[in-house]
Symmetry: C4
Subunit: 367 residues, 4 copies
């Protein structure tokens, strides 16, 4: 703890940019490295989850993500569940325009109500393709569409907001009681964002199969400027990893997965997230660079279209290759935005690790 | 304390940019959050005070600020009290020109003497609109116009300079004795800038109803370059908050309000200022972005027109919406410069707080 | 050690940019300074080694480097050993083009197999010029061409990769056993990159005559972004210097040389590297500025052409003078990219040192 | 002390930019502030010394500096002592050209030998104007022109180099023995640059009337890049101030003056330098902005024209006003580059100090 002033102390927290993975005295061959990630009943070839953002996830790219060995998550309160055919909306959102115009246009387009039947239809499309099915709602919309979700028999349901707590207090409204909700729900629930030991521990006790660690840390989020709230990701993941360990003991063996959700823009960040203690990462911006991305290089998240307090920019990325190349390579760019799995694999091989779980223990340095 | 060199030690201080608000394990609903701020006999809907700068405050915008639930403060030694009709001066100050020309022009325009009768007239205009009335003078001009101010029966009178001390020493001149002045004065006096525990404690003992915490920390101030003096705002507020606590005990219950005055440019800074211990914030640059701002996007403060040692730039901001939108939303920009009250409200809700006073206790992190 | 989060601690590491050499109370005359560096049977006039990168080292420039008193190292898996006459490939690689095109073109051009007979021929060319002969291979290619190398009777053979360990583990493949390899090999072997005390100690125990200290720290390397692995150079050199000392005692007197390999772009960095404990430096980018550089100002390393995970950019530098001027002066630029030896010499004279070995003990400061 | 790596520790040092002056609980009136600085037999109105750089000091501007209450120091190995009429050389050096051309041209122009009779003539011109006379030579040229200097009966003679030690060791050459030189010399000698406690203490023991504290810290110096040597100014001044105190006691009352020489570009830096413990400051770049500056806005120092290892850039500054306005105001720019004395005066008044000596004790903060 550092003294900020006479009446206040503060703890120091660090971002992925602040840290680096330290080499060890061993190396391994890349072909020996096993990136597989098993959560609940599903095993993925690589611990890479695509963020539920309309700019990167359509039913088609969610399917493609599954085929590539990762998990695609559809935003269940985005364009695909508000519009029968969202192609005109995508047209409007991928035109060149200034930020203010883009924000106003997003606020208009996302004012259209969410339709339960479209949720069901989109999820069925993904299921029919034979890949794992996952979708996300914010806490505010979860109760309304819980039945639709339940019927859709997802592999994973995500409750994802800027922050999610197990103790939301409201004297007036009926609000989502996470513990009750998860208990009654058949589908494994992954919840977040959370960014501290205590919040994560509460979410784990509420029954979450996994927690999303993060709080507006992404490239296109401006939460820190708008709300003043921020938890640098390296420290957030390392804090929540301790909650996982304590809950594992307290629960007599329930292992809750940590998915780093924010500031994972390059393969080096994927490696750092695991090294800080994550089991998997959720990525957005690297996928926006894929030629299949529905945003055609433009990238925006749910924070960007908030009706009264938007907290995200629409940003543009050059498209560099197919979704397959972005996830599994080969890469043709030297900046870590392609071959995310390959970058992680090589980082592990060069430091002598062959599985994700033990790589979580590698030494880090502060730069 | 850190060793700077063998003969000197220094303490570390932090700016709002250095800190972030840490999430907690609780969330609340936004409609439960109460932003109201009561100081002396007045209750404001939000703890937002408009800075006495000609670029943002005219009688009209001071009135509008009051209607919006905040406090507008008129600069009583600015264009409105030097000129019967300052519209020509505003014209000249809002033309495109380089910094040197702008500085020279400001030095000329502000050389015109202040008129007591204009002070009275402007304050009456605001009072007639039925909103709280506040005006500011620098310490050097306070004695001369004290009678005019007294007669105008303001709700709050501000003595505002780069720094104000309760122990100004001058062997030759008759200078403002703050303690005597405040004692004799009916109107509650808010004094500043101050930036340290000891200065603040002295101002409190002199009878101030509130203190302005800051020292040239604003976007357009260059005090640090010109004078070398600077107190990063997060530490300054946290230091002065301890003085408030000690004085509360020492005085047997007098609560002196802290108004963070400097470096509050975005809604996230508003939240951080409160989180560091402030009761309210004084803002300038965000209001310069309102369509009603008399500076038409150009923004300058009293430091900028100093006759021999100017310490502020004239800067330009894009206008983004009405004053109402800037203060209370809705926002159409993702950078925290609109919907200041909404940003504070959401920050409090997401971290589980429902009133300003308890939000002062939230944990902070150093980034 | 600093706490990164509840479950993880991290050590702090520093780059050359983070440190500076502290003046002492003595000065010496420049003509008294002896920059000579003796390693194995060879004495060099200055401790400057040219990096085995095709953009700076051809047989001709390797010879010139030796004539100038330093050591030129030819990349034995680069253009000169893949192509009988690489001039057309150099043409293609020194055209203006964007990074993605450049990366793809490098991936194609370097897909051509390495020829053992070209290795022999290039090394003979250098030997015939009467200068010390050195060449480098990556660990993966070392075994295949070991016989060719052995026959070529180099003065120094370098095994150089992103990281090299003495304990590479592979359950399936036959991999390079460094200890056996060095033991059987007549030529002194210099090995790296390594960046930590323990790795370096293992390499020393494996019989290395010198170790390259570094891990993708160069100007054109993007290893930190792609892999997340990084060791800031000042700390890396200072760590490995302790391994040298401990091994010197443990071995009863074997002195293993430290060559700082990365982030040495200016003469000030050369001085800092020695001051951190290095015996010599390996430089790339300053040599790319020489008029003789085969890359004609364009600069790229082996990481840049990796087939599936490129980790280096092709960058351009203005050419400032001859290779002789870059290494030994006179300089006509004020930024430390010319007269590398002269900069080191003056730094030593101004701080009162006359030989490399004692200059390693000079005090450093953290900026 | 911080651990840099296992074999090396380093101390932390801070620049003027790293620190700020902390407000106190008192303020004073500006007219009460006394900026006078007495050294040896001369009292200056303000503690401001003009650096011996051809871009700012000619005989005419040295005279003007004296008239303005400060001290002008002529470079006795610059254009004015190499050329009878240097106007053509000034023409050539103030043309637009790239850095490499500028460096080469400076190297040519300054290859012309220094003439003793021109030294005498230029100093006489200054003396005839009735202002204090000061000139500077580097250690290498001091012995050759010592007689000329002695005859010129300067008020102050400066031995000024990148670094100057009292223990220069040279086995072969006859070198300047500072102690003997100062002992035999009638004129008070000011010596530097020095940047550490021990070097300064040795210079004080050698009999220096004042020491220049600095080591290539100026705006146009690239010493840190070229040599790797650097001492951030705030720490350097604070260290040397302790040497002054210790020497004062050891010598039974000899007070040696500290002149901060480097990184003083704005009035805020002047105030910080005094606050760190300096008695006066030597400034270069602010004076280059005066309309009378012989460099016409272009600015370069002796390091820039070194024959084999140039360590300074030629840089351009906009001209903002007369030399009088730059030194004593009034200012028309808000960035601290005009009215240096006024900035210092106001900084002292706002923090409650009325003389230079006590202002050295003010508290500083690390930003």
């Amino acid at each position: 703890m550092y003294e900020l002033g006479r009446s206040k102390r503060a703890s120091r927290a660090h971002s992925f940019d602040d840290v680096a993975i330290a080499p060890t005295r061993r190396t391994r061959s890349e072909h020996e490295v096993d990136l597989s990630w098993r959560i609940d009943a599903v095993t993925f070839e690589a611990p890479i989850v695509a963020a539920p953002m309309d700019s990167v996830m359509s039913p088609a790219t969610a399917i493609r993500m599954g085929e590539l060995g990762g998990l695609g998550v559809l935003n269940l309160e985005g364009l695909w569940t508000r519009y029968e055919d969202p192609s005109s909306q995508y047209e409007q959102l991928t035109e060149p325009m200034d930020q203010v115009t883009a924000t106003r246009r997003m606020q208009q387009i996302y004012a259209e109500p969410i339709k339960g039947e479209l949720i069901a239809e989109r999820l069925k499309t993904i299921r029919d393709a034979g890949v794992p099915v996952a979708g996300a709602l914010s806490p505010a919309n979860t109760l309304e569409f819980a039945d639709v979700i339940e019927k859709a028999a997802l592999d994973f349901f995500m409750v994802r907001g800027t922050t999610v707590s197990a103790e939301h207090v409201d004297d007036a409204e009926a609000t989502l009681n996470l513990k009750d909700f998860i208990y009654r729900f058949e589908t494994p629930v992954i919840v977040g964002g959370c960014a501290t030991y205590r919040t994560a521990l509460h979410l784990m006790r509420a029954g979450a199969a996994g927690v999303l660690v993060g709080f507006g840390g992404g490239a296109a989020h401006t939460t820190a400027s708008v709300l003043g709230i921020e938890v640098p990701m390296a420290s957030a993941v390392a804090d929540v990893a301790e909650a996982r360990r304590d809950y594992l003991e307290e629960s007599g063996g329930r292992y809750v997965h940590l998915i780093a959700d924010g500031a994972v823009g390059r393969s080096g960040d994927v490696a750092k997230a695991i090294a800080c203690g994550a089991d998997a990462v959720m990525v957005g911006s690297p996928l926006a660079r894929a030629t299949e991305a529905p945003g055609r290089g433009w990238h925006w998240g749910p924070e960007a279209w908030h009706a009264t307090l938007p907290r995200g920019e629409r940003v543009f990325f050059d498209q560099v290759g197919s979704l397959g190349e972005v996830v599994n390579g080969p890469s043709h760019v030297p900046d870590g935005t392609m071959n995310l799995a390959g970058g992680l694999r090589k980082a592990m091989a060069l430091t002598g690790y062959t599985d994700i779980k033990s790589f979580q223990r590698i030494d880090l340095i502060l730069r």
